[in-house]
Subunit: 442 residues, 2 copies
């Protein structure tokens, strides 16, 4: 089985597993598969039916409570009343596209853009991170006249045709297309001498050279600035600077995919790229932007957006509607009012320290790393190799004990720890204690 197949199969319900589900659950799953068909993806060998959620907790149909350490979309907390109220208020009054002026859309655009460094001053509103990355690719193509992209080898940037091409983790067997080059994730364990910056920039340079040599040319490198699907790589801060320099020197762009790290998760400002002291050419956003209200966006420089719009008309029907703007604005307000960036930093550091304590006593944890409330924890076998089986075991055991968690990385052996940003220290304690107990009882 290839690494990619491992990721796709990870902790996914498979009807073919023939697991003996309770009759009621079996019936629910059968209904799901009859309607959603082959595109149905359900978590766990025994899927969970969720009925409500609040803050850091979700509740299933049997009233069982789960601590959510997985879902990064309801980032300011499940069912946050400020977001729910903002949506409820606006949707009863006006919900229309941006070809009319509306105060909520313009006010939100100004509020969001005030969070970006110059010269990133134009916002295009879309509905999904996929749409944002699809647009970002085309802005880069228009700006450079080139079509080559460089991504990491377990990258996931979305689900459109064009974005799937730069998402190796979505491909089950086919290689990436000719215009895509795949480079290793910035893993200190892979970098000679642990020099992540030189390792990553060097691999980028080699990929660019190959694109140029093959006559494809280099449009952009696009990275999730915390490398979520690659296994979470945040350190050392600043390591992306060398990559930005390489991209610019080659005449291409640096696209920061902030769909995962954005909106405060890394605990060091709103954006993952801030950790690296860089200014990307294009920034894409999605998932947590509206705390679950479908909305996303692209921020870039006016000159780049203009080049794209010269040839292609772009309009997004739902993008930037006043209800989305109300949701997005409430999210920014809550992040500020509730001090969620500081909370991500403080609770994240506390959480990481707790996890590191477990690691200190065990040989099956290879590393704990991350920034803020985005932490990766590697499981390894006795030979130090990625242990996907252990990750899957832990994920299911955690579920039994009321914790939702998932995995990432090329081998699916890294716990992907990314709870809502209102996560508290006692939530972290519960997770650490539970993980310790599960591993001890193995």
């Amino acid at each position: 089985m290839s690494p990619t197949k491992q990721i796709l199969a990870l902790n996914r319900f498979e009807a073919s597993d023939g697991a003996a589900l309770a009759p009621e659950l079996a019936a629910r799953v059968a209904r799901r598969q009859a309607t959603f068909g082959a595109s149905s993806v359900l978590f766990y060998k025994e899927p969970i039916e969720m009925v409500r959620a609040e803050g850091v907790f979700m509740y299933d149909a049997h009233g069982k409570r789960y601590l959510d350490v997985y879902n990064n979309v309801p980032s300011v907390g499940h069912s946050h009343p400020a977001v729910a109220e903002a949506v409820a208020r606006q949707i009863a009054v006006l919900n229309i596209h941006t070809r009319y002026l509306t105060k909520p859309a313009e006010a939100y655009a100004e509020k969001l853009l005030s969070k970006f460094p110059a010269p990133l001053s134009n916002l295009t509103m879309t509905c999904t991170g996929s749409e944002s990355n699809d647009l970002a690719m085309r802005i880069a193509e228009a700006a450079t006249g080139k079509r080559g992209f460089v991504v990491t080898r377990a990258a996931y940037h979305g689900n459109t045709h064009h974005v799937t091409a730069i998402s190796p983790s979505s491909m089950k067997s086919k290689p990436v297309p000719d215009f895509v080059r795949v480079i290793p994730e910035p893993d200190p364990a892979l970098a000679p001498g642990g020099d992540v910056a030189a390792f990553f920039a060097g691999n980028l340079q080699a990929a660019i050279d190959d694109l140029e040599e093959k006559g494809i040319g280099f449009a952009a490198v696009i990275v999730d600035t915390i490398f979520s699907s690659d296994g979470i790589f945040a350190d050392p801060p600043g390591f992306l600077q060398a990559a930005v320099e390489v991209a610019h020197k080659a005449g291409g762009l640096f696209i920061a995919d902030e769909v995962q790290p954005g909106f405060g998760r890394t605990g060091g400002g709103l954006w993952g790229f801030s950790r690296h002291g860089i200014v990307p050419d294009i920034v894409t956003m999605g998932k947590p932007m509206g705390n679950g209200f479908p909305m996303a966006g692209v921020v870039t420089r006016p000159d780049l957006l203009s080049l794209f719009c010269e040839e292609t008309g772009y309009f997004n029907t739902f993008g930037g509607n006043p209800v989305a703007a109300a949701a997005g604005s409430a999210v920014l307000d809550v992040i500020e009012r509730e001090g969620l960036i500081d909370n991500a930093r403080d609770v994240g550091a506390y959480f990481k320290a707790g996890l590191s304590t477990i690691m200190g006593n065990r040989r099956d944890i290879g590393a704990v790393r991350g920034a803020g409330l985005f932490i990766g924890l590697d499981f390894i076998d006795a030979d130090g190799r990625p242990d996907q089986g252990l990750a899957t075991f832990v994920i299911n055991a955690m579920k039994e004990r009321g914790i939702l968690i998932g995995a990432a990385g090329l081998w699916g052996s890294t716990l992907k720890i990314r709870p809502p940003l209102c996560f508290a220290k006692d939530n972290a304690d519960f997770f650490v204690d539970t993980l310790r107990a599960i591993l001890a009882e193995r």
Copy 2:
């Protein structure tokens, strides 16, 4: 100026026009352009700031009321309380992706799929019509192993990279890519002997032959089943049957893009394809599906969806969340409870008759056509040629008199009449009387 450029420029605010806007409006527009940049698209030489909307009416910042005869997203009526309440209720309780089971998602999928003929029994939820058409293209590619698509010459199917390739109306100067063939719209005026079915199917066959000859192969023909951007062509009912036969005989698929005609607008069932007595291989939906809540979908046969999923993992983070399901379910309920399909049929027929009366007395209206509450009205000059100038004049004069309307068609000379489905006969009277007066005073 090419036809396509005409459409893109149609009734769009252009800063370069140097229109003398009132200072307050000029300031608002400047704020918009500073934030949205080159991707900002505003209607009218003097853009309108909207503040609220209800039923068939919208209200601007000065309290001026507009009868909405343009916006097809808030299809069951602006700010419909049933939709607003369904969203408000659900977003306060649970908003999560489909990798958990949720009753709202499964119940909505079953309700929606019950509105489709066999063998269309699988639904994939997305967020936008663009995402739906992007996915439909890939399902067709996977099913046929071919990559050629046939579309009409002013088609618009969405804004992703792949879908833009099959949307000639989005391209400002470049030709369509090598895998796309463009055929004329099914205009009775172009069809020899007025035989629209033979004309359209014959052109499709020629396009397919060319794709095969060039070694590209034929994957699918995709049509908006009421040909909105082409200028609205609904008659005679059944004319698409011959095209479906041609597509199937060539081993390709027929994709019905229901983003515009879907959800009752044509007054003859929920779908535009019903008018033609056909069963498409893939149906895509969008705009009115959630009355403005960002949601969309793809319905197809299980065998086709399975073929696609064999190679590519598809998951849509926001797609099928329970809030979208609640909105979509409320929309279906309102359509049924308020008899909106019958209303579209009855008021649409009444409306079309009223417009035809104007045409009977004038030489500058070439045709009135459509189905239900989707009506096209062609403006022509003294030589019988498309008169985009008159369409633009009417659109702006209508605005002054409190009516929102737009244009479509290859030359932008066709009034695109598609009000909310709760449109009443007195609303139609107001439109007809106003149009008559505007034309009389010219």
